[in-house]
């Protein structure tokens, strides 16, 4: 990497850090700006005793100047201290850590499935070779993107589990229980990603390098996979952050539909119980992962596409 590239990389990373800092501040301010007493906000529906109140005031430094409170909060956050849940009487990091695995497995399965589906759909329907298929698939994509993900889940559940008894109705026992939630979460992703990828492939097919590849006598499949699809992947990479957000937000609802344990359950319990430290931690963490994923995606495109490096 030359100096120009290094500078470009550093600039992206710095921008990511700034966004992260602003996001953490925004979440913090949201809690402070909440109507009523901050101690009440932080306790939520948890046990309210003088000892706990004193502990909250000490932990959040509420008896100290506002600026110090804020710096203290950032300092703790930077050290991975996510605070304490007053509803569950446990450290937030512990609560989240325990429930991370099921959500991670579900998200990874859904992401893999969604991306694979989108790649296949885009490769098969791009160009003008099969207009009816293209029409069919863009209609289906519109339908998938416009349906609430949990409705897709409920339809699958109704038909495949209740009618046909193919899959368990709820729980997370075994890989069979993972199929329906993963498919549910993957379908809207595949729908949007396929649209973006096909647009990209269509545009790439108009480029001179495709004409060159064809003139060299390459088979259409090779032109598509090696030249057009690869070209279309680049704009799709920038969707990585969006993909992540959809997965996490979707998981909250989908886990509810299929009665799966996980981060969704934790978040929902926290929101309905007004367990602010947990909500704050989930929201801040998700923003952090989004920023990391997005910055990584930016860097990947920077490395893959020489044209971006020059500018």
């Amino acid at each position: 990497m030359g100096r120009v590239q290094l500078r470009a990389v550093l600039r992206r990373v710095a921008a990511g850090v700034v966004v992260l800092w602003v996001a953490a501040t925004a979440a913090y301010l949201a809690v402070l700006a909440a109507p009523g007493d901050t101690v009440d906000t932080l306790i939520g529906d948890g046990a309210d005793t003088p000892q706990i109140r004193a502990a909250i005031i000490a932990e959040w430094g509420l008896d100290r100047p506002a600026l110090l409170q804020y710096l203290d909060y950032l300092w703790r956050l930077a050290h991975g201290d996510l605070g304490r849940s007053y509803l569950l009487q446990r450290p937030v990091a512990e609560v989240i850590g325990e429930q991370l695995a099921p959500t991670l497995i579900l998200s990874l399965a859904a992401a893999t499935l969604g991306v694979l589906l989108a790649l296949i759909i885009a490769a098969v329907t791009a160009g003008d070779r099969r207009p009816w298929l293209r029409r069919l698939s863009s209609g289906t994509e519109l339908l998938l993107v416009s349906t609430p993900p949990f409705l897709i889940g409920l339809v699958l559940l109704s038909v495949l589990s209740f009618r046909l008894g193919l899959f368990p109705v709820a729980g997370d026992a075994g890989p069979r229980a993972l199929v329906l939630p993963a498919v549910t979460l993957a379908l809207p992703i595949a729908g949007l990603l396929a649209q973006v990828l096909r647009d990209g492939v269509d545009r790439a097919l108009d480029e001179p390098f495709v004409l060159t590849a064809r003139a060299r006598g390459l088979r259409e499949g090779v032109v598509l996979a090696r030249h057009a699809l690869r070209h279309a992947l680049l704009p799709a990479v920038t969707l990585a952050g969006w993909l992540f957000g959809t997965l996490l937000g979707g998981a909250v609802i989908i886990e509810q539909v299929f009665g799966r344990p996980g981060l969704g359950q934790v978040t929902l319990t926290a929101v309905t119980g007004k367990d602010m430290p947990v909500v704050l931690a989930v929201v801040t963490l998700s923003a952090a992962v989004y920023v990391v994923v997005n910055t990584a995606a930016d860097l990947v495109s920077l490395l893959v596409d020489p044209r971006l490096r020059r500018s």
């Binding site: 966004v19 409705l151 109705v169 957000g245 937000g249 979707g250 909250v252 929201v283 923003a287």
Partner: protein, 293 residues
Amino acid sequence: MTVTLDGLPAGATVTTSGQAATRPRRRLDIGLLAAGAYLTVLLVAVLWPAALAPGDPLAADPRNVLSAPDSGHWFGTDNLGRDVWTRVVHGAGHSITIAVAATAIAVGGGVLLGLLAGLTHRVADETLSRTLDALSAFPTLLLAMLFIAIVGPGTVSLIIAIGLVTLPRHARVVRGLTQLVRRCGYVEQAVTFGLSRPRLVLRHILPNAIGPIPVLAVIGLGEAVLIAAGLSFLGMGPQPPSPEWGAMLSEGRNYLHVAWWMTILPGLAVTATVVSLTVLGRHWQRRLDGRQR
């Protein structure tokens, strides 16, 4: 030889795919017509639900619970014997009001912040833009949930939450266009003619900086319907017995094994609404694109 034959129709693709951008318009007309028809019915349901379903959406009939769709109740009845069709029709008002109000907040706030960011100088612009970036870093649903956790569930908090999380995209578009427009010749000329700043902004910059906003708003309306359905499915919006669509889905979920119509049919109303709005928005966008070219 086969290579050339293979290559020819494929080579032809290059030229036809350019036309493909204009050709689907004729095909989509059926879709557009269907979308328009559905939205008209929806509008009637919102403004005058009794015209489509004269019954009371809250009227329970204990002798007729969970009955499947038939000629009398063509969307079936729910666990309390309430007519699902009546509830879907009357629920349109709730769901659409939430989406429209949320989109109004998003568009109003977005245009205001976008103008502000686009017109001010570096520091203020940078602060605003970074804040908007940071807001977009939160997954939409989770950010809305943070807001609802703070202020509590309900229709009003749902509206504000959805408005806030969908605001940054409008702001970003307006900011970009404002920066373009203020460097245009006619704006600079207006400045040299000594036009006052408020008049300059209102007469020259604003109308030219909000071009794509109506289209974005129509598509955003569909998304607001989706987010609202999701959040109230989780119990964060209007509470039962309100016939809001998401709340109906949430109630129906518990009876999915015996009464699919309680969930799937209101769900289809949501899907049809979002599809219709998207079709309309995309059509409008294509027409705008065509005119600009």
